[in-house]
């Protein structure tokens, strides 16, 4: 029985954890902890600002409103943090695959039993009004599993088998999540490319992926004819600058045809493949003005809210545009509007800087890890946070399509805060014990 085998293993593990727990406080990366709590606290205040109405003042701690509930989530997150730091850090690596397997089963289970909420079958009702979104948990589970796999594999060697396995590990959860109709959450898994790039994946994939995304968005923003002419002119200019490229004219033409083909397929993709609500989100990006009360509502209102903030903002709780869900999903996905409106460009920039500090800090934490597992996991954390940061803020200022994903640590919601807390503090727990990883 496998259970009997594991018991002695854990006994050893607990003994070693006793020794380490004394040092964990000293070794914890307090800069990251500080940034984390700063973001969480600022988020909480802005959640209050969303529900705040001078005509009906409710205490910020009241459980009737989101800020009070968020405080509950924050409190439980602190408990989660304590637990994550208390357990033996090795458990995360040991249990990476079982956790992953469990989450895959949970995702499938959710898909099977969940009743649709707003078209999405991703919520698991735990009873008592508590709901859980396993898709959120899939992020850290996948990060753990992929890191563990990379610890043994090597991406640089053209090992197709390893690459295929890694692709399966990475793409299985988003595939189920797409079936749950949570495309936004599924897209997040694209962020793993950054981590894999660090571990030796060919930069070509990053470049191609980035260019494809750029062309995709340009196709939406610029008329097809202009875009194609523009690309031809660019290519002509390149040849004119460096005549040697003429020798590669065949591949140049092939690339051009590829791009043109992509431009047309984007058109086809949007109009014939995407579901109407997905189409709307993309159309909102192209021309929100066309139907400001329809699909353009979010983007228009969000830009108006942010734009009206000016340089210094209207002041805490003094916003007028970010109240009463004027912008829908105000306290979850569009929380950045509140910052933009009430704290202006200064406040928005401070928040951006805070995120940059956090992400670069995580990268340097990742770099100081001794094991590939720990380093890859660190990069996964940074990449996931970055993707959320990119898409969430991008959509509120009209630079990315409206994809319903939250701003890490900031948006209202228990599942989101919990999953980011777990994601980050697993890394911090591993990092705090890195001295003991010398043997590897």
């Amino acid at each position: 029985m496998p259970v009997e085998q594991t018991i002695p293993k854990y006994k050893i593990a607990t003994r070693s954890s006793k020794r380490t727990s004394r040092n964990i406080f000293n070794n914890l990366d307090w800069v990251t902890v500080l940034l984390y709590f700063l973001l969480v606290a600022l988020g909480w205040m802005n959640i209050y600002a969303v529900v705040y109405s001078p005509d009906n003042v409710v205490n910020i701690f009241s459980f009737d409103i989101n800020s009070g509930k968020q405080l509950l989530w924050i409190g439980t997150s602190v408990i989660l943090i304590t637990m994550l730091l208390a357990v033996d850090y090795k458990i995360f690596e040991h249990l990476a695959y079982p956790i992953y397997g469990f989450i895959i089963l949970l995702l499938l289970f959710t898909l099977a039993v969940a009743s649709p909420i707003a078209g999405s079958r991703s919520w698991l009702d735990l009873g008592g009004g508590v709901r859980l979104q396993p898709a959120e948990l899939a992020k850290f589970a996948t990060a753990l599993a992929a890191s563990k796999f990379l610890n043994g594999a090597n991406l640089r060697h053209q090992n197709m088998k390893d690459q295929m396995i890694l692709a399966v590990i990475t793409l299985l959860p988003p595939a189920i999540i797409i079936l749950q109709n949570e495309t936004g959450s599924a897209l997040v898994f694209g962020a793993f490319i950054l981590a894999y790039f660090r571990e030796g994946m060919s930069p070509l994939i990053l470049i191609i992926g980035g260019s494809a995304a750029a062309i995709f968005i340009l196709t939406l923003l610029v008329p097809k004819l202009y875009l194609i002419s523009g690309i031809i002119v660019l290519m002509g200019a390149a040849i004119w600058l460096d005549y040697r490229l003429m020798r590669r004219i065949k591949s140049m033409v092939a690339l051009l045809l590829l791009i043109v083909g992509m431009i047309f397929s984007v058109d086809y993709f949007i109009n014939d493949v995407l579901q109407p609500h997905q189409q709307n989100r993309i159309k909102a990006l192209i021309s929100p003005e066309a139907d400001p009360l329809g699909y353009g509502w979010n983007v228009t209102q969000s830009k108006i809210a942010i734009g009206s903030g000016g340089l210094f903002g209207k002041g805490f709780l003094d916003g007028t545009q970010t109240k009463f869900d004027f912008v829908p999903e105000q306290s979850t996905d569009f929380i950045f509007c509140t910052i933009g409106e009430e704290h202006g460009w200064i406040g928005s920039t401070v928040l951006i800087v805070l995120f940059l500090l956090l992400m670069t800090r995580i990268v340097s934490i990742a770099e100081r890890q001794k094991s590939v597992f720990a380093r890859t996991y660190g990069y996964c954390v940074a990449s996931i946070i970055f993707f959320h940061f990119l898409v969430n803020i991008g959509m509120t200022i009209g630079l990315a399509p409206v994809v319903g994903i939250p701003l890490p640590f900031f948006s209202y919601g228990g599942s989101s805060l919990w999953s980011f807390t777990i994601l980050l503090y697993i890394l911090l727990a591993i990092d705090a014990n890195r001295a003991q990883d010398l043997s590897r």
Partner: protein, 610 residues
Amino acid sequence: MNYLENRKYVIQAIFVVVGIVFALRLFYIQVVDSSYKQAAETNAIKTVIQYPFRGLIYDRNGKLLVENTPVYDLMVVPKEAREPDTLRLAKLLGLPFEDVRERLKKARSYSPVKPSIFYQKLTTQDIAHIQDNLIDFPGFYINARTARGYSHSSLSHALGYIAEISPKQLEDTAYAGYRPGDYIGKSGIELEYEKYLMGQRGVKHIMVNVRGIEKGPFKDGAYDTLSVAGKNLYSTIDLELQKYGEYLMNGAKGSVVAIEPSTGEVLAYISAPFYDPNLFTGKDYGKNYMQLLTDPNKTMFNRPIMASSNPPGSIFKLAHALIALQEGVVTPNTGYPCNQALVTCSHAHPAPTDMTIAIKTSCNPYFYQLFRASINQGKSSNPFKDTAIGLAEWRKQITTFGFGTTLGIDLPNEKQGIVASPAMYNKIYGENRWKFSTIYSLSIGQGELGVTPLQMANFMAIIANRGYYIKPHIVRAVGEKGKPLREYQKRNYASVESKHYAPVVDGMAAVVSSGTGRNASLAHLGIEVCGKTGTAENPQGKDHAVFVAFAPKENPKIAIAVYVENAGFGAQSAAPIAGLMMEKYLTDSVSTKVKWKEKWVLSRQYLNID
């Protein structure tokens, strides 16, 4: 490995580039491009407060004490009004020309684009006249709301009034939900039960464009909340009794408090002189208020709970008797000589050979000796210390009768009164420098004593109940099926056990049947009244008259305290008023047999008797 490690720069560069792009984009839409700011202006949401109906107040028989009546405010939006014909406006409103200009200036300085109140509380008649002319005054409109209304002119002190919230209250976090211009209870029941009466305000969200033109409800009213009317209050007051009491007290100064002993419910609450509560509802509120405030008769003074510096006089002898019995220093059969050498007795009377006779005759020397027996029990051989011990013990007991403490009636600003204490005398005379001969005036209810009329009435309720009281209260229920608050259901026991009350009650019955309280007798109805007259010494002028009573003797239905300022001896003024009011309450009318008493009371001749 090294070239891979360099990839960390690539990744961090991607982060930073995205951050810079975001910051630049934000700078463009927030600082450079002003069109978003304009757009924000055009889709502002205006919130309109929906004021709920304030709760109504009923009397104990379901008669309306306080209702809501519509009033109209003339509003102005200065920018839309431009330069109105101020002369014509002044004529229309019956205001001086300068006043109209002043009001316009004030409105303009508040906000040129937001509406402000130009003229408050127009009556329905005014409206009919003004409405037709308003067409020539753009920017002016009429806003209807409700104000308090009264179909009677009674009970003003207990009901209290509402008025605009003060700037000071607005700063107080306890009033966080209020906004400038809101109405709030300022005194009486209106203040005490504000949170129930005010109800819950609703908020309506309306989309407006930059010029404030309404574009309809925001999101079809999805975020609107309905106002919830305030809870109705059911008072313990008997409006008919109240009106009759005010009729009797009209022109006098003083208080009447009547309580139902078994429940602590206040049946009548009169503070004379009184004023018509309607004075505070109309447009002349400010003027009327100032007039009453500066009135030499202190009309606004809420006498039943605030007149706390007057000594109780002879009625305190009842308490002395009860405490002495409880202490075991006397028995109902104890007699003392009417020794005028100790303290004078105002009139000749039979020898007080037992307690009942002593109470009936209100014999000063008797109670001097009885009180001395209570105070000086020989617990210390030092007469100074013994007095201090005895007084402290006595004080402990007297406070259980509700003296020297606030009773906790549901009205604001109740005073606690004064009850002599060893500390008080220590401060005046020094420790161990005072003894019974220093404090003996307490024995006849004078000296360092201050009792509110409410405390007197409550004292009667205790004797009527033979030993306990329920905190007097003026609201018996909040809402249709409400109950009194828990504290108004609990019995509070005085220190004297119920077995000791019989001789005191008998004495009080004798006071009314054949003693000084005959003017309160209801013998013609076959109802036995127990009462006690008193005179409160008044160093500033003529003494105050006191009469306290309850009836019937067995199973009492009403306990009453009547306090008439400067009316001398209690028998002449206070006793007939108490008798008439008890008759009114117990039989719903006043028999013709006693109409002469009514006439006598209303003649106010007692004020001239020396």
